[in-house]
Symmetry: C2
Subunit: 465 residues, 2 copies
């Protein structure tokens, strides 16, 4: 059942108002830990759930509240749970933004530039746009809706697992949910809508090396003491090879090699090396074989070195021996890898390599947060409804993708509710989530709003067999 | 000839006023490139010399002016040139300072805490204190004095070499100088005054790796592209070993091993492993043999990794692949090493290691600044005068030391003037120059002022043979 024609027209004629609301949302600096976003859900029963406190960087902080919404309780309708997050990654003009990251800037080419425009304030507002249409036109939704919008996704969704598990029980907020839809990822390219059925997991580490009581002068102490930076760089250099191979024993080995049949899945995707190099902005693909690159991103683990806390990071030439340095790195996980089976391998490797150094400095490995990988059933009616909706709005069949990023809550929903979970992305591959100049194309925001609405109608209509 | 008794009394009775002036000097945030310090030199003819402009971090900036002073032209007196600098290293509370770095804080134990207190505003004001005594009491100095105070020492003294060479010629500001005294280093320990006759040189590098056009999301691009951080960490790990050995072929090899006789020089110094570990604030000495540690600091080169510009440096867990990262490292040089003979070895090594990686990223090596090492003649009358003065003020013989740090201008003065150069430190080994909580002990500031003054009297009196 397609969405009503006047829904689609409503979206088009309210596009500027929707963008204004996105602009207001972007202006809220909801970097995880300081979120204070209060959506007005049209006619929706909402409640803010306190998740208690947690410790971050040695400070006890209150966790941002989770906003749960509930609309409709018709036993003849399916019940859909939609999820999004209103927190964002850190962003500073000094990172290289061309405009203020927390002011939505509308470019002449239709790009809506601002931190969170695509990840994930645009999709969250997409759901609100749909609610606004039904509220203003006094129309019933084709499904019963449950909403879960959180403010800690970029910092490990701390506290949310427990809430989801509690509310999934009989009598809970999510009791009776038939399927889940999460709009928090991206198309594989800049052209073709996608449905996503897999996500890599994540395990994020902070590797601390300390020695002196304070920063030292490299003239006075150079070659006289063990320098924490020297140790840290040695350890970080043992983690991953330039070709992406993970050097921690047992990590890559845990994943099976793809056979010919599996490789074919990746050959059919609308994707080329040119796509990745355009999105990255440089001719730096690890392979000239598109299947290799796609498999590396979708079904192989990866290890990235993000940076160092505590070392000299400014411009100029400071001759310092930093006293305490913390290397940040993370591993993207694929089945059967989990933080539980990978973290001990990382710990053993780091301890062994540090022992080999024979340094008198002190080493400590912290795991900051993590989430398991996830793969879903693409033949489920939830995916079929999304396929039909995509064809209706965009007039093409979607790419069926696995995503390289992590949304740990996906697996929590799948496990706690025992229902099918679909990822239905709004943005394009070049949106630059987590990067400088993050954007959402105007057409993706507006057509994406239509897609999410049409999806609800198709879910309402589809036979569950 | 000892200094007049009332000079020593004057210093004691004016100690608080001297400290107040140091406090005012520290409050000027004269980080190189924004210096605007204008000393009032009592009765001294002064002139500010424009050094033109230079390019730093892609910006054209005016160089801070050099202040030259001239007092006395008596052909029967020796002419002493004193040097200091009023610029300081960067300092932020977030680096770990217990107090505001640009507010001089007087601790109950007599430590004067603030950026530049010891390096090098305290010593510069030491010379001014002496001038104040002679001005207020209408006394002649025992020598003709020339001053050279600059504002770019912490950033390579750019432009100063040319000025010194020009002013050293007949008719120039420094024409007729008989010896040079620089007070810009530290005692070997916290107990024993020192005279310093050697300095390590420096060559400072910025190693740039770039690939993507902007920062990328590690979920989307992890194992799909060549990551600049992976390349940079690999390259930085090939530079120095955990035990301090420099791994760049030809660098360590350029320096002769010490023979038994040379080792004896270091055995006599008032120094223990406990000294270095107390100063560093941790049990992290590279050797348990004091001679090894002293030789490593004084007569061997060292390589330190200072940090990375462009990578993630904040607290928390950002899953970013940084687009452009710049590793900062420097090598302390000893004779016969110079930037001219070392930089090509570094370049060849980095290029060879980068080629081995087979990365598609772009690598560029910049040398930011450098200076040659220097060794002086400790039997010259300039050193003898300083020995006598030290014994007079502190009642001990000074340690004869070589310093691990660099003051490139030292060699410029020695070469341009062809006269003996002496380093006469005011501060202690634990002052924390370039570090957090930099301090100068009150007694070092006050007794140090007496020492500098007494030195001028001894120079005035000593036979030049």
């Amino acid at each position: 059942m397609p969405a009503p024609k006047d829904f689609l027209e409503y979206v088009d004629s309210n596009a500027d108002a929707f963008i204004k609301r996105l602009s207001e949302a972007v202006s809220i600096k909801s970097v995880s830990g300081e979120a204070s976003y209060r959506p007005e859900l049209f006619g929706v029963e909402t409640q803010q759930f306190d998740l208690g406190k947690h410790v971050m960087d040695g400070q006890e902080l209150p966790l941002p509240k989770v906003v749960l919404g509930r609309l409709g309780n018709d036993p003849n309708k399916k019940t859909v749970l939609v999820y999004g997050h209103f927190d964002v990654q850190p962003a500073y003009v000094s990172d290289g933004w061309d405009t203020d990251p927390f002011t939505l800037t509308i470019q002449p080419n239709g790009q809506l530039v601002g931190r969170g425009s695509s990840d994930d304030k645009g999709p969250v507002l997409g759901w609100l746009n749909i609610l606004q249409y039904h509220y203003e036109n006094k129309k019933e939704l084709p499904v019963n809706l449950r909403c879960c919008f959180e403010g800690m996704e970029e910092s490990g969704s701390e506290g949310l697992d427990e809430l989801v598990e509690r509310e999934s029980k009989p009598g809970g907020w999510f009791d009776g949910v038939d399927c889940v839809c999460i709009s928090d990822n991206y198309w594989l390219n800049t052209r073709t809508p996608a449905l996503t059925y897999g996500l890599r997991g994540l395990t994020y580490f902070k590797l601390n090396i300390s020695g002196p009581a304070k920063d030292l002068h490299s003239g006075v102490f150079g070659r006289a003491v063990h320098e924490p930076m020297t140790d840290l760089i040695k350890l970080m250099s043992t983690l991953v090879d330039v070709n992406g191979q993970i050097l921690i024993p047992g990590v890559d080995e845990m994943v099976n090699q793809a056979d010919t049949e599996e490789r074919k899945l990746y050959e059919t995707l609308d994707y080329s090396i040119k796509d990745i190099e355009e999105t990255a902005g440089g001719p730096i693909a690890l392979s000239s074989d598109k299947v290799e690159v796609l498999m590396n991103r979708m079904r192989n683990p990866s290890l990235s070195l993000h940076g160092i806390e505590g070392a000299f990071y400014g411009p100029g030439a400071k001759t310092v021996i930093p006293a305490k340095v913390s290397g940040k790195f993370s591993i993207r996980l694929v089945p059967p890898q989990t933080p539980e089976n990978i973290n001990p391998l990382v710990k053993a490797h780091i301890e062994s390599e540090f022992a080999k150094l024979g340094s008198k400095n002190t080493m400590e490995l912290e795991d900051l947060h993590g989430g398991k990988p996830w793969v879903s059933d693409i033949n489920h009616w939830n995916f079929q409804a999304a396929r039909i909706a995509t064809k209706a709005v965009y007039n093409v069949d979607p790419d069926m993708t696995r995503e390289g990023g992590s949304i740990p809550i996906t697996l929590t929903f799948a496990d706690a509710l025992g229902v099918n979970v679909l990822l239905l992305p709004m943005g394009r591959s070049d949106d630059g989530a987590h990067s400088t100049n993050e954007k959402l194309d105007r057409s993706n925001f507006i057509e994406g709003t239509k897609l999410l609405g049409t999806y609800l109608y198709e879910v309402g209509a589809i036979a569950t067999k």
